[in-house]
Symmetry: C2
Subunit: 229 residues, 2 copies
C-alpha cells in the first residue's frame, strides 16, 4: 500500500468458482468448446489448477444460465441449438430489442453517441486485426451501448442471455470475411439513423442487420452440426 492503487481499476483475486465460471463462459462463447462437447470436470480442474469442487459449482452456475445442459450421472454438455431454435432466439431478440431501442433512444446522451462511435471503430479495428474474440466483444459493445440506456436492467439481462446462447454460432458467422464487411457498413447506417432520431428506421435497420446474420448462419449450419475443431 505504498502509493498508487488505481482508484477503481483494482480487481481482487476472485474466488475459484467465479474464475472458473468466467473461463468456461469465455471458452464456450469463443467456440473453443463447440456446442455438443462434453465437459469433463476432472479435465477442467487440472487445466485450471483447482480441485473439482469449484468446477462443479461453476458448471451448475452455467447450467442455470442455460449455457450448458446437465443429465445426472452423465455430465455436462455445451448447449446445442438447431436451426429452429436459432431462429426462435433471433425472433425473441427482435421483439425485446425493438422495445429496448424505443425506450433507449430518447435517453441517449452525448456520451452514448461517443460510445457507439467507438464501438463501431473497435469492431473495424478487430476486423483488421482478425481477432475474433475482440470482434464479438466490440460488436456487443456497440449493440448494448444502444439499448442499455433504456432503464430496464431486467430486460437487458434477458437480452444478454439471448446473445450468450448464440455466441458460439456468432463467432462461426464472423469467420466469413464477407459477413464482416457487411457488418461494418450496417453499423454505420444504424448510427446515422440514431443521430437523426428516426426510431422506426433504427429498428428496421436492426431487424435487417439480424436478418443478415440469420441468413448466413442458416447456410453454415445446414450440413455440419458441430465438431468445428
Amino acid at each position: 500500500m505504498t502509493s498508487e492503487q488505481k482508484t477503481s481499476g483494482f480487481e481482487r483475486p476472485k474466488t475459484a468458482q467465479v474464475a472458473v465460471a468466467e473461463e468456461l463462459r469465455r471458452a464456450i462463447a469463443s467456440g473453443e468448446l463447440p456446442p455438443g462437447t462434453q465437459i469433463l470436470q476432472e479435465r477442467v480442474a487440472e487445466q485450471l489448477g483447482v480441485s473439482r469442487v469449484p468446477v462443479r459449482e461453476a458448471l451448475k452456475r452455467l447450467e442455470g444460465e442455460g449455457r450448458i445442459s446437465y443429465t445426472p450421472h452423465q455430465g455436462y454438455f455445451v448447449s446445442k441449438l438447431d436451426i429452429s431454435e436459432l431462429l426462435e432466439v433471433y425472433m425473441i431478440r427482435n421483439l425485446l430489442e425493438a422495445e429496448a431501442v424505443r425506450r433507449s433512444l430518447p435517453h441517449l446522451t452525448e456520451d452514448d453517441h461517443v460510445e457507439l462511435q467507438e464501438g463501431i471503430l473497435a469492431v473495424e479495428e478487430a476486423n483488421r486485426k482478425d481477432d475474433l474474440t475482440e470482434l464479438t466483444a466490440a460488436n456487443r459493445r456497440f449493440h448494448f451501448a444502444l439499448i442499455e440506456p433504456c432503464g430496464m436492467p431486467r430486460l437487458i439481462r434477458i437480452i444478454k442471455g439471448l446473445w450468450d446462447t448464440t455466441d458460439p454460432y456468432r463467432s462461426l458467422y464472423f469467420t466469413d470475411a464477407r459477413s464482416r464487411d457487411a457488418v461494418d457498413s450496417e453499423h454505420r447506417q444504424i448510427l446515422k439513423a440514431i443521430l437523426s432520431g428516426d426510431t422506426d428506421q433504427v429498428i428496421s435497420l436492426l431487424a435487417e442487420h439480424r436478418q443478415g446474420t440469420i441468413g448466413s448462419l442458416t447456410n453454415l449450419l445446414d450440413g455440419n452440426t458441430s465438431t468445428a475443431s
Copy 2:
C-alpha cells in the same frame, strides 16, 4: 408389478442436488423464504439431511436462474424486487406473452380447451381449500396451457423464468381474498374469448388481468419491503 405400472409415472430417486434445488425453489416460490432472506448452507443441509456439497450446487443452480443472489464470502440471499423491477417484469411479460398467445391460439386443440377449463376449476378449487401453493400452481397451469402450444420452447422458458422471479410476490397477492375472486371471473372471461377465437380480445383481457395484479402488488409493497412472516 402385477398389472399396471403407469407407462411413465415412475420417478427414480433423483440426485441430492436436484432434490435440494427443487425444495429450495418451492420454498422460495411459496414465500417460506421471503425475498431478502439469507440462505445458510449448513442449515439447509441439516434440514434436508444431506451434506453441504449438494446444497452448494443447488444454490449455484438457483443463482444462475436468478432466483437468489450471491456475493463471495457473504453467501446467498433470496432475490428481492423493488416496485420498479416488478413493473419491469410485468411489462416484459406483456410483450412476450402477447406474442406467445398470438402464435398459440391458432394451434389450440380440443385437448387444450379441456386443459384450460380444468385449470380454471383447479384454481377455484384451491381457492375454496385456501391452499396457496396449489392456487399458484393451478394458476400457472391455466396460463401456460394457453401459451405452451405456441411452438417456441425458448420463449416459454423465458416466460417461466419471469413468473418464477415474481412468484414470492404472487403468493403475497393471493393472500388477499378480494384479489382471488377477481381472478376467477377474469379467467372465465379469458376462456370465453379464447373459444370465440378473438385473439386481440384475449390479449387485452390478459393485459388487464396482469394490470390487476400489479395494482394490488404495488399497494402491498409500498411500505413493507419483506419480512412477511
